[in-house]
């Protein structure tokens, strides 16, 4: 079995996520996956490609997204989940109405969406970062 020379949408998406300088390496890796004999060998080869994509994306995000935004991207979802759980279990120690926790949770969920959009803009809004 050979890989579709034009590449499927997943391949194109993975390539687009990589920094422009690393894309030829991923294209090379994916092209050579067709050489692997057997499902297991091909899966190991593709898993290696996945690792390279993950590290390239990680480096790209680390270089493009400021530290405060990365911190907010981790803490905002955690806060949203915590507030939602407090509302769900009707937590009373703070003597606050659970609707306040619910509203806070919704606000944090909205903030998560906004932060994700900011991060995506920081990563893909750079020259050469557009999906090709």
């Amino acid at each position: 079995m050979s890989i579709d020379p034009r590449g499927g949408w997943m391949q194109r998406f993975a390539i687009a996520l990589c920094p422009p300088g690393d894309r030829r390496w991923l294209r090379a890796l994916l092209a050579e996956a067709g050489e692997a004999q057997g499902v297991g060998a091909r899966a190991i080869w593709i898993a290696g490609a996945g690792g390279i994509v993950a590290s390239a994306i990680g480096a790209r995000v680390a270089s493009a997204v400021p530290a405060w935004l990365r911190f907010a991207l981790v803490t905002a979802p955690a806060a949203a989940v915590t507030l939602r759980l407090l509302a769900y279990f009707d937590y009373g120690a703070l003597r606050l109405d659970d609707d306040i926790f619910l509203a806070g949770s919704l606000a944090m969920a909205g903030a998560c969406c906004a932060l994700c959009a900011l991060a995506a803009r920081a990563v893909f809004g750079r020259a050469g970062g557009a999906i090709d």
């Binding site: 890989i3 994916l30 092209a31 898993a47 290696g48």
Partner: protein, 107 residues
């Protein structure tokens, strides 16, 4: 203490594979099969060697029918010299056999 660049066993194995057929263009899967390295190990080394100018790379001119073009690699002249120097220090026995094979090929 910082590690010396290109000082891993995996890098040695790749350099030996590339030096054993110095002028020949090789593709990644072929190198992986010869060295026993998986793609997740092989490609970061290839990327690093390329960034250091040790490697020449190009896309295959005429791919097999129905297959995508493969990326081909070989050591640059400067990279081959550097690699041989490195192997002489780290793997003298491999360097000697590579040199012997080289002289045999030239003769």
């Amino acid at each position: 203490m910082a590690r010396r660049p290109n000082s891993s066993k995996q890098t040695d194995a790749l350099l030996i594979a590339l030096l054993s057929e110095r002028g020949r263009w090789r593709h990644g899967y072929d190198l992986g099969r010869e060295t026993g390295l998986k793609s997740g190990t092989l490609y970061p080394i290839l990327m690093r060697l390329d960034a250091q100018g040790w490697l020449e790379s190009r896309w295959e001119d005429e791919p097999a029918p129905g297959k995508p073009r493969r990326h081909l690699y070989r050591l640059s002249p400067a990279g081959a010299d550097e690699a041989m120097t490195l192997l002489e220090q780290r793997r003298p026995e491999a360097a000697v056999s590579l040199l012997a094979a080289d002289e045999g090929g030239v003769a």
